[in-house]
Symmetry: C2
Subunit: 220 residues, 2 copies
Amino acid sequence: MASQTEENYLKALFNLANPAGEVNISELANQMNVSMPTVNSMVKTLQKNGWVIYQKYKPVQLTPEGQKTAALVIRQHRLTEMFLVNKMGFGWEEVHAIAEQVEHIHAPKFFERMDELLGFPTIDPHGSPIPDKMGRIKETHYVCLDTCEAGQTVVLAALTNSSTEFLEFLNSRNLSLGTQITIHSKETYDQSMVVSYLQNERETLSEKVCEKLLVRIIGE
Amino acid sequence: MASQTEENYLKALFNLANPAGEVNISELANQMNVSMPTVNSMVKTLQKNGWVIYQKYKPVQLTPEGQKTAALVIRQHRLTEMFLVNKMGFGWEEVHAIAEQVEHIHAPKFFERMDELLGFPTIDPHGSPIPDKMGRIKETHYVCLDTCEAGQTVVLAALTNSSTEFLEFLNSRNLSLGTQITIHSKETYDQSMVVSYLQNERETLSEKVCEKLLVRIIGE
DNA sequence: CAATTTTGTTAGATTAATCTAACTTTATAC
DNA sequence: GTATAAAGTTAGATTAATCTAACAAAATTG
């Protein structure tokens, strides 16, 4: 059984993997906020446990078992976030830090009860997909708002970043998942967009914000 | 901040303390399932952190800060048990193992929300008192069923032991907190009691069971 | 393509939590 | 009140997770 530390490395590997499933030691060190030698020795441990494939000076890759273990921790994290928001009244900006701890609890029934009470949700409060009990993830195909064009109508579906600061920014602008947004114009100079939604008739969203918003296009 | 391991030692000290607040190294070793040298070194660590008073060859004692820290972990444990039973549909025999993990989460708001959602309970599903936010415990004064006499009517209020096996035994006999019990006779030979409650007209409870049941006397 | 920079590895130390073996102090018991 | 038993301590080792310093390989770049 993976230790909490090992689970955190597996999660990081899962999230950092490029299309080929590879992660560099330095990327992992950076993500985990530890030194490269620490990652080097941890990767050897993960390999001994059958969770990664690794050869000196090569990038690391999760094995299928490593992927499944990682996905199940991510499942517990996202179910927890959903439970905190939908059943305990927390704001979407408050739940990450708590879920980082709860995700490591070893008690399958605990998370199965959450899942049931929530009605088997498929996405978390930030729009990220919740892996199923087998660790499979249903891929979603949203587009990034910054690739959309003036005239289109879209619905906010997910975020590529869920930092507290960004979530508080979205709260301050009354933006939440499901909000229907109409794109009025796109500034070629700085890629900012003028949009409207709900009561907001004319809101400007910077490129920095637009590139973090994933949407479904529903019109034009 | 206490590590999970330290929190577990503080809890054990809190629970093992005799009326003078003292705990022997061997008792603690036994409770924690570790060797005496391990306890010896851990007790020195706890002392460095100001949680215990300790002198070579003397029993250990929690300081007021140690007591408060322990009580707050116990608070989190008991609130969690109550939440699992009352809000998530678990049986009282299922919650201990999960609460042992959840109690170590460092997120005051998480437990405050549980407390609110539960309506600020003062006892857990096994009748044990829930310490308040300051770590204070409201002392309850129940009597042990084995000290009761034939003819008395009592209400089951708490348990002195909450092992899964004992809880499953109580389930099998339809006994739960709040059940009103009438004592018909007490066998002087083996201290067993013949009692009635609910639909059960004639149930025999062994001494081993009676000594684990705490009751409020309500009649005769 | 040689020089430099970046990335990765090895070696060795540290801290927390644990162990066993050996020794010491305190308690128990004739 | 000494002998034995029980309880407690010390010393030294182990494992997991981390670090820094020094070195090696790979990538970048003039």
